[in-house]
Symmetry: C2
Subunit: 142 residues, 2 copies
C-alpha cells in the first residue's frame, strides 16, 4: 500500500475517534468518554475559560462534572480537519453549541491499536475569520 | 544513550523552540516568527477569540498584523510543559500578558533537524483551576 493511502486510512481512523469524542460529549456518556482518553500517555485538557487540567484523574473528573450537568447543551463538531504527526495526530474542529461557535484542538496518540485523546483545548470564537482554504467538504485530512 | 535520555534531550529542544516563539512574540520580531513556523507541514493557528486560521501564508499574515501593532503587550510564558509524540511534540503553557493569563497549546514537528511550530491555540483563562500536578519547577517534560 502506498504511504499516502496509509496516511489517509490513519486519518480516517483519527476522524472516527474525534467523532466518537463528540458523540460521547453530546450523549453525556461518561463511560465512553473515559474510554476515549489515553491510559498510558500523559493527559491534559483545557476547557473554555479554564486553565490547564493535567493528569488523567483530574481530566476525567472535569468531564464527569461537565457531563453530569443536565443543563449542558448538545455539541456538534464541524469543519473538522485531521493532521497526521507520524504515530500521533491532531484535529482542529469547530464545536457548535446552542448557536455559539467554539474552536478546538484535539491531540491523539495510538494506544493498543486505537486512537486515544491525550490533549484537548477548546475556546470560544468571538470573531469569525475567513478560512481561505475551506471548501465544500466538512471533514478533511491534511 | 538510553531512550529516556533521548526523550529528555528532545524535550529540552522543544522547550527551547517554545521559548524562541515567545521571545519573537514579545520582541515583535516577525522575521524570527516566520522562521519558527513549519515550511513543509500544514500550518494552522487559533488566536484568542478567533476561528482557526489555516495555511502558512494566512497564519503568517495574522502574526504580521499582531506583531506590527505597537500596542501589542509583552507576553511571558509560564508553567510550560512539553509532551513528546515520537517525532512530534506539543507544549502547554500559560501566556502572561498585562496581568491577564492565557493558556496555549503549541504543536511542534521536526523539519531539517529543527523543531518548528505546526499549530498554536491560545485562549483566555477566566477561572483559575488548581493544578494538582504542579510543583516548584516552571518548566517540565512529560
Amino acid at each position: 500500500m502506498a504511504e499516502g493511502s496509509v496516511d489517509i486510512d490513519m486519518g480516517r481512523q483519527v476522524l472516527a475517534a474525534n467523532d466518537a469524542f463528540y458523540r460521547a460529549f453530546a450523549a453525556r456518556d461518561f463511560d465512553r468518554m473515559e474510554d476515549l482518553w489515553a491510559a498510558v500517555a500523559p493527559v491534559s485538557c483545557i476547557h473554555p475559560g479554564w486553565n490547564a487540567v493535567r493528569g488523567r484523574e483530574p481530566v476525567l473528573a472535569s468531564w464527569r462534572s461537565i457531563l453530569s450537568n443536565p443543563d449542558s447543551p448538545a455539541v456538534v463538531a464541524a469543519n473538522v480537519t485531521a493532521h497526521m504527526l507520524g504515530g500521533a495526530a491532531y484535529v482542529i474542529c469547530e464545536e457548535r453549541v446552542n448557536g455559539a461557535v467554539l474552536i478546538a484542538t484535539n491531540v491523539f496518540v495510538v494506544e493498543a491499536g486505537e486512537w486515544k485523546l491525550t490533549h484537548h483545548q477548546a475556546g470560544h470564537v468571538l470573531a469569525r475569520v475567513v478560512d481561505v482554504q475551506s471548501g465544500s467538504d466538512d471533514r478533511s485530512i491534511n
